[in-house]
């Protein structure tokens, strides 16, 4: 028993120590510290925050380590939890101390290892020693983690006290009750009233907000909106019909380039206008989806993933190559793409584009929702669940998979057209693989196959990084880690899809009626 206590806590400690080491080496502590400093409204020069924030970072990590270790204790014994937290914290602290000693040696000898490890500037290492003299710095690194580990254990132990538990339960119950009440109000006889109020408020917000919050927010929220459209399109393919497509952004590129080539002065000066170009982009994207899917329909799903990835790269490389430069503008892309007009009036301010994007989002949501709850949607879901059985139930799986690809691609074409026109520019590097991965991540994180999840995912993955500027360098790293963690712990996403509850007629049917059914044809 004591052996498991020791070995488990040791393991947690080592894990956290290694994580701490890794985060130090990529400069994550400085980033998070700067974020804390921002929140505390402390001004800083350069990328390295004041020591106090780095201490805070270490302390949080230590508390987390202590909490993770203490949580593993089954017996409700106060002391054991404390000991676990302390052990984990101490081990992590020891690892941190070793790293600090190395830093200290480098700092005192003025060796700059930045040629090999990019973030380890002398300033950074000094800051990691909390700007203290060498010995104190090492000791502090050890002490903070060990102490915080103990604190984490203490917290866990306290929270398991019946009173604390009770209070927590009460609080959770209160919140839950409140939510229930809200649900009751919105679903019961007041349903219609609440719906109307909600819609009116939403409409007002949609109408007034873009004019009020300025062009920066229009840009950020507009981008989020574009990604909501993309996410819904990809959700049709991945979330509903269960086909993994990795080069989805290629369809976006088709929409964007159709808009650019038909509606910009360079290189062809065709100037078709916004709406025809948008429509053609949607159609072409859908067509490309069918064309790409056709040869692959009888293959296992993971092949589709790789082939679409290859297709995305083909499109990008072709757009970039000398071969196509005269036709698509090559690596420089296409500039001065014209905005839309409505009844002859230009409709191209940032507010107008915001309305346009919101319109696109609403249309996409509408179509997505209606498709999902139909025979088509059920056919897609059945293919996702078990393709063989779906076929044996009479679903033409080839047709429906192609349909999903085509419609999903059409959404991307729509998003691409609007995006290119808003930015008045499109170039090959906007359509790199990472953009596809972004879209995939956002629907996975939000919750596959549902609209609220897609919106949440788009805000979390496209909106948050815009707001948290410090985070920019770490964004992709976080995506990667997030994908793995989500798959391990919550593959259904933050907002899992719920199956609709259909209204079941009350009266039980007699056998005669059954017979009757069978003869209706």
């Amino acid at each position: 028993m004591n052996k498991t206590l020791l070995s488990q806590s040791l393991r947690v400690g080592i894990t956290f120590g290694v994580i701490h080491l890794f985060l130090l080496l990529i400069g994550f502590n400085a980033m998070l510290g700067s974020l804390f400093a921002d929140i505390a409204r402390v001004k800083q020069s350069g990328s390295i925050p004041a020591s106090i924030f780095l201490v805070l970072y270490c302390a949080l990590l230590g508390v987390w380590a202590g909490y993770s270790a203490a949580k593993k204790e089954d017996a409700n014994v106060f002391g054991r939890k404390l000991v676990r937290g302390l052990i984990a914290g101490t081990v992590a602290g020891l690892i941190s101390a070793v790293v600090s000693i190395i830093f200290a040696v480098l700092v005192t000898n003025k060796i700059d290892p930045r040629k090999y490890l990019a973030v380890l500037s002398l300033d950074f290492m000094r800051a990691s020693l909390f700007n203290l003299p060498v010995v104190q710095g090492v000791a502090a690194n050890f002490g903070v983690l060990a102490g915080a580990g103990l604190a984490g254990g203490l917290l866990t132990a306290l929270s398991s006290f019946s009173k604390v538990k009770h209070a927590w339960k009460n609080f959770a119950g209160l919140v839950k009750g409140g939510l229930e009440k809200i649900r009751y109000c919105t679903s019961g006889k007041y349903h219609l009233l609440f719906k109307i109020i909600f819609l009116v408020v939403l409409a007002a917000a949609i109408f007034f907000l873009p004019t009020k919050w300025g062009s920066y927010w229009n840009y950020v929220i507009g981008t989020v909106g574009i990604y909501v459209i993309l996410g819904l399109g990809l959700n049709l393919i991945v979330g509903l019909s269960g086909q993994l497509v990795l080069g989805y952004i290629a369809f976006f590129a088709i929409g964007a380039y159709t808009m650019a080539l038909l509606n910009a002065p360079e290189p062809h000066n065709l100037m078709w206008g916004f709406w025809p170009a948008l429509a053609l982009g949607v159609v072409l994207a859908a067509f490309a989806g069918i064309l790409l899917g056709l040869p692959l329909m009888r293959l296992r799903g993971d092949y589709l993933a790789i082939v679409t990835l290859g297709f995305g790269e083909i499109i990008r490389i072709l757009l970039k190559s000398d071969l196509m430069t005269s036709f698509t503008g090559g690596p420089r892309g296409i500039q001065d793409i014209k905005g839309p007009t409505i009844f002859g009036q230009p409709f191209n301010t940032d507010v107008n584009f915001m309305y346009l994007i919101i319109g696109g989002v609403l249309i996409s949501m509408f179509i997505y929702n209606r498709l999902k709850h139909s025979r088509t949607g059920r056919a897609w879901l059945s293919i996702r669940e078990d393709e063989t059985v779906a076929r044996a139930s009479g679903v033409n799986t080839v047709k429906y998979k192609l349909l999903a690809l085509a419609l999903g691609a059409a959404f991307a074409g729509l998003a691409g057209g609007i995006f290119a026109s808003r930015n008045q520019f499109t170039g090959p590097d906007e359509h790199a693989l990472m953009a596809s991965i972004n879209v995939l991540s956002l629907i996975i994180v939000g919750g596959m196959g549902n609209i609220p999840g897609t919106i949440l995912g788009a805000f979390a993955l496209k909106g948050l990084p815009e707001i948290l500027r410090e985070f920019a360098n770490f964004r992709l790293l976080a995506f990667g880690a997030l994908l793995v963690v989500m798959m391990l712990s919550r593959p259904e996403g933050l907002i899992p899809s719920r199956r609709p509850t259909l209204q079941i007629p009350e009266d039980p049917q007699s056998d005669e009626e059954n017979k009757e059914v069978s003869h209706v044809d």
Binding site: G310, M487, L488
Partner: protein, 367 residues
């Protein structure tokens, strides 16, 4: 009773599908023949010397692809998942090789010309570099499986694939943050300096067979043979094949399935690590993105040969290398487009012969 029996009528759509594939095939074939004819017969654009150069390049790169492709095929054969992060495992090996050479270069042994350890003991340096690179990659492959794949073994197929994609992005960006995004020049020991080699005279011009290339190719062939012996002749190989066929039965026969899968990841990681160090030695550049494109190409190679099929992956790798180097020349297209060619091959193979050139080796689980 018989009045309203609908007959199974083939739909128009499926009829269309039936003709689409052959039509597409004929069009592609005609295009290729036309380009070949115009480049080789009419224009005579390249002489024998250029073709020899391209052949050498193709074989060298093909050997590296083969090594990486083996990793995909081994893992796919056992777990039926595409180890998307395999290219990143190779990248870590390449960085390890780079760091070893840097470290050895910085050890001064004399003030006379060999100067540093790396030049004074080139053979030992290269062995150390490969040992470290293969160990690092093998361990990262092992950890990857343990952390990101093992808990998901019973999940639907998309789940581990997405996890693998996540791991791939994570590793790429971790490397970028750790080692900075800049391109690193690998300093080889003097005997393997890039750009020098045997010269042969063809068509009146010198064709260089670079030492690095010969070394890379020979080593990859050796490793491939070694792997083949492991899989065919050893107890571990037998266990791997048994697990690939049927995990449950293998477990009943006393095979530790988890351990066998871990060992598979160790082996495929080690091969990828070797490929990474070779990449550094021959191409000379190491950066955080270095594993991605070779990884996808190698996957293409594995599919080309028939995924799950070991000899298939080896041949597929070599074949892809050759196509990539000689294809653009033979078809008279820009060398910028060699990646397009590789991906196009993937699409063509999956369209016309999805089981690959040598046929894929899969168990009954497929249906």
């Amino acid at each position: 009773m018989n009045e309203s029996v609908p007959l199974p009528i083939a739909r128009k759509g499926s009829q269309l599908l039936k003709y689409l594939r052959p039509t597409f095939g004929v069009v592609v074939l005609l295009f290729i023949l036309y380009r070949l004819y115009s480049v080789l017969v009419i224009r005579h654009e390249y002489g024998a010397d250029t073709w020899t150069r391209l052949l050498i390049t193709g074989l060298i790169i093909g050997g590296v692809y083969a090594l990486i492709a083996i990793g995909y095929t081994l893992v796919y054969g056992i777990l039926f998942m595409i180890n998307f992060a395999h290219g990143e495992v190779m990248m870590l090996g390449a960085y390890a090789g780079f760091f070893v050479f840097e470290a050895l270069k910085s050890i001064k042994v004399s003030s006379e010309p060999p100067l540093n350890f790396s030049n004074a003991n080139p053979v030992i340096s290269i062995i150390i570099a490969f040992a470290v690179g293969m160990t690092v990659s093998a361990l990262s492959g092992f950890l990857l499986e343990k952390i990101a794949y093992r808990p998901l073994r019973k999940a639907p197929r998309l789940v581990p694939l997405i996890s693998a994609i996540g791991a791939s992005i994570f590793l790429q960006n971790a490397a970028q943050l750790l080692f900075s995004p800049q391109l690193r020049d690998v300093t080889n020991p003097e005997i393997l300096r890039r750009g020098i080699g045997w010269k042969i005279l063809i068509n009146g011009s010198n064709v260089i067979i670079p030492y690095t290339g010969v070394f890379t190719f020979a080593l990859s062939i050796l490793l491939l043979i070694g792997l083949y012996i492991i899989v065919r002749k050893t107890k571990l190989g037998r266990a791997m094949r048994a697990v690939a066929l049927d995990k449950k039965t293998a477990a009943l026969m006393g095979i530790d399935v988890d351990k066998t899968i871990s060992q598979t990841f160790l082996i495929s990681g080690a091969l990828a690590g070797a490929a990474g160090v070779m990449w550094g030695i021959h191409n000379g550049l190491v950066y955080y993105f270095v594993g991605f494109i070779p990884g996808i190409k190698a996957f293409t190679a594995a599919v080309l040969g028939g995924i799950g099929n070991l000899p298939g992956a080896m041949l597929g790798g070599l074949f892809l290398g050759l196509i990539e180097s000689m294809g653009p020349a033979a078809l008279g297209i820009n060398f910028q487009l060699k990646d397009v060619l590789a991906f196009a091959i993937l699409i063509l193979v999956l369209t016309f012969r999805p089981s690959g050139l040598l046929g894929e080796v899969l168990s009954e689980e497929k249906v």
